[in-house]
Symmetry: C2
Subunit: 444 residues, 2 copies
């Protein structure tokens, strides 16, 4: 009997050692910029070609109810990397020009995802758009990334990498002179990073600057403001390679972006790491849809509104998670999940204990994504500038200014938010408004 117990204990020890020694999964977190819910083939776009993202959807979970808790680039990134609402992490606003260059941005007291992963032996790299402060102490390599290649700001020219009159491309903390189309540069850097770190767990954060709308401020005088992409992506649609048509340009930019993601996926395949790598593609907020700007050609169909708003079009985005060891290929998750949930999911996957002294707002959504549980959130709350919103189950409240009444929508019947039910269902509206006020009150 004693011998048997001994043998069992030994077996247990072996088991623990084996499990303990198991390499935690790699993570490739691709955050695309201003891509609308309706801009991807696998989310129903009839024209834009995104075969690689569509492939990811076939191999992973496609979320229909994935939320960005705020509807603009900077706070979206801050929330993603901290797992906390912007009002809690101290970065609820969009960084201005100077702030992008030298601002503190996300307070230094905040701990971000790569820093959590370092003790587990992860190699960490960031390749793309930073946009949460570049003061000393704020830079990617100050905050837990071993390496960085990208732009400090939120919105560069795709070829010259100019932002507000300055070339904005950095390696680590140093400006560099590098040529190329930004999507290609960031994909190449991520692939190179994965190759160099194939033997250990790695975390690659790839916040592409595409498909952010071009800005005339980032052009030399007289240079036209158009969507920029290599000729082959125009030609793939049968468009003239030198087309200045904004729709054609946007399609080309999107397919160039998809191609960059495809190259990353194929690199993972070549490295033999597909089974051991979590790949996430999500958009940082909805597409810009201000009609006055002809370059704003994305679509949040079938939702209402867009970037900076808290109608679904601003906050509900595409998100695909491929994780072969946990999630069923080709499945769809229709439960509310949010960008703040990705940090706890990744920490759990990496066997990093969730912090005890930091209040996370995100909740590990793995069981939800696997179809084994409901949403990890009773409520989700949304805020950007004057816009507010909250969702609970099928119900959503939204208002555009604090001095207005909340509107109430039934997202199961009316996902386009066309029929305000606040007068018909005052009890439901009140319950959601009360929950919102309680949530909001903690930050006063």
């Amino acid at each position: 009997m004693k011998k048997r117990l001994c043998a069992l204990a030994l077996l247990g020890w072996f088991f623990i050692t084996l499990v303990g020694a198991e390499r935690p999964p790699n993570v490739v977190l691709i955050y695309i910029d201003n891509v609308g819910y309706g801009d991807l083939g696998c989310y129903g776009n009839p024209v834009i070609r995104t075969p690689n993202i569509d492939r990811l959807a076939r191999e992973g979970v496609r979320c229909t109810d994935f939320y960005i808790v705020t509807s603009s680039c900077t706070p979206s990134r801050g929330a993603l990397l901290t797992g906390r609402y912007p009002l809690r992490n101290g970065l609820p606003h969009q960084l201005g020009k100077e702030e992008n260059w030298t601002g503190i941005g996300l307070p230094h007291s905040e701990k971000i995802l790569p820093k959590f992963l370092k003790p587990k032996g992860y190699a960490t790299g960031c390749f793309g758009k930073w946009n949460i402060g570049f003061a000393k102490g704020s830079r990617p390599t100050d905050r837990g990334f071993d390496e960085f290649l990208g732009c400090r700001s939120g919105n560069i020219d795709f070829y010259t990498h100019v932002y507000n009159g300055q070339e904005d491309m950095y390696r680590g903390t140093k400006p560099i002179d590098i040529e190329g189309y930004s999507t290609d540069l960031f994909a190449d850097a991520a692939i190179d990073f994965m190759r160099r770190h194939r033997e250990r767990p790695f975390f690659a954060y790839v916040p592409f600057n595409a498909a952010h709308v071009p800005n005339p401020k980032n052009k030399a005088p007289g240079v036209p403001t158009i969507w920029q992409a290599p000729a082959k992506y125009f030609e793939a649609y049968g468009y003239p390679a030198d087309s200045t048509d904004p729709h054609e340009g946007y399609h080309a930019v999107m397919t160039a972006l998809d191609d960059g993601i495809g190259r990353i996926l194929r690199a993972i395949d070549r490295l033999g790491l597909q089974e051991d790598t979590i790949v996430i593609v999500a958009s940082d907020n909805g597409a810009s849809i201000r009609e006055s700007l002809v370059l704003e050609t994305g679509t949040n169909a079938p939702f209402r509104g867009g970037r900076t708003e808290t109608y679904e079009g601003g906050i509900r985005t595409a998100c695909i998670v491929r994780w072969p060891k946990q999630l069923k290929a080709g499945s769809v998750c229709r439960e509310p999940v949010a960008n703040i949930d990705l940090l706890p999911m990744i920490l759990r996957a990496a066997d990093v204990p969730l912090p005890r002294t930091i209040q996370l707002d995100g909740r590990d959504p793995t069981a939800t994504l696997a179809g084994k549980d409901r949403s990890p959130h009773e409520h989700l709350f949304f805020e950007f500038r004057k816009w507010s919103g909250a969702r609970r189950g099928r119900w959503k409240i939204v208002r555009s200014r604090p001095d207005r009444e909340f509107e109430l929508y039934d997202l199961a019947a009316d996902w386009g938010e066309t029929r305000n039910l606040s007068a018909d269902k005052p009890a439901i509206a009140k319950r959601l408004v009360d929950a919102f006020e309680k949530w909001r009150g903690q930050f006063e």
Copy 2:
């Protein structure tokens, strides 16, 4: 040398015999009713659950530019089964009550798909909504189907199978008394047919009556007109099983329909016929969207308009083709293809020579669906009642009445048909209008 030639000839003969003897593929052609482009998960619907149709999309080709050449049930079915425009096959109108019961409908001179397949040894069965005439000579079993179980008319009560005061369920040419939810009955009949004919090639045509909007004419006085589905499909969404909410009911009907399709797919798997069976799911026209009718809860998002119109919402529908031996799993076809093309595709697949004396309007789209060729059509033309339209490449003309001017839309930039470009691009508009007039003129 002579011996060698002999051996080669013998080998050739063997080869030809083997190829000749190869069993042609089975065909399961599922035609769903009034389902909108935006009503399926794999076409971007955020709420409606269609996991089986989504599975088919992962395993086959999902078409983004599939057209029904007319936007109503009867002529859509006539065009599908003849491979000819309604104006050519003589059935351009929707059958009325009496016509559904005893009308000739599609002229007897027309030869339909199962009749072409019979000489190749196909077992042929039709299970569902007939809707193209039930006079003697017009019935499914008069026109090439070995068997039929379904309704003569276009729109029955899902449980009582009543249409305009008469129970409308037939086996062959005889009315039968059968209990059950129509989607289940039609799926069961198709599965039973496939089982019985597993040893020879078969053609199952499964025109489900779902998800056609319920009609008060098909109810006894005092019985409410609601969407009907088994309780489990309501409960799957967390809705009350006895819900009368039209949105909830529509979602339940759609998921019941998807489940019927899933049972057919699983039967094909169990019979070991997946590799040898072409499965097609397409909708007969866009969703009904008349706002006055609260039961019309489908969506053609992101397109404009709906059933009976020739805006994209009326004529552009979901279509998925799974054909493992010819088409790449998980691919997307963005070239214009139409319901009239399915007949020549199926004939070619079955090695049936295309008819010499019958003018087909459809063109075999296999190479297009395989991603190896452009659309088989320079132009596609659309007409229903007063509505007309035509598409060539990215350009589309549409008008709601013959005494109005055609509008011109650029479907690559503006798939929602919001900006009429006829004044800006008169040459393009004229070219399409001329092509339309020439096409239309042949039927005067």
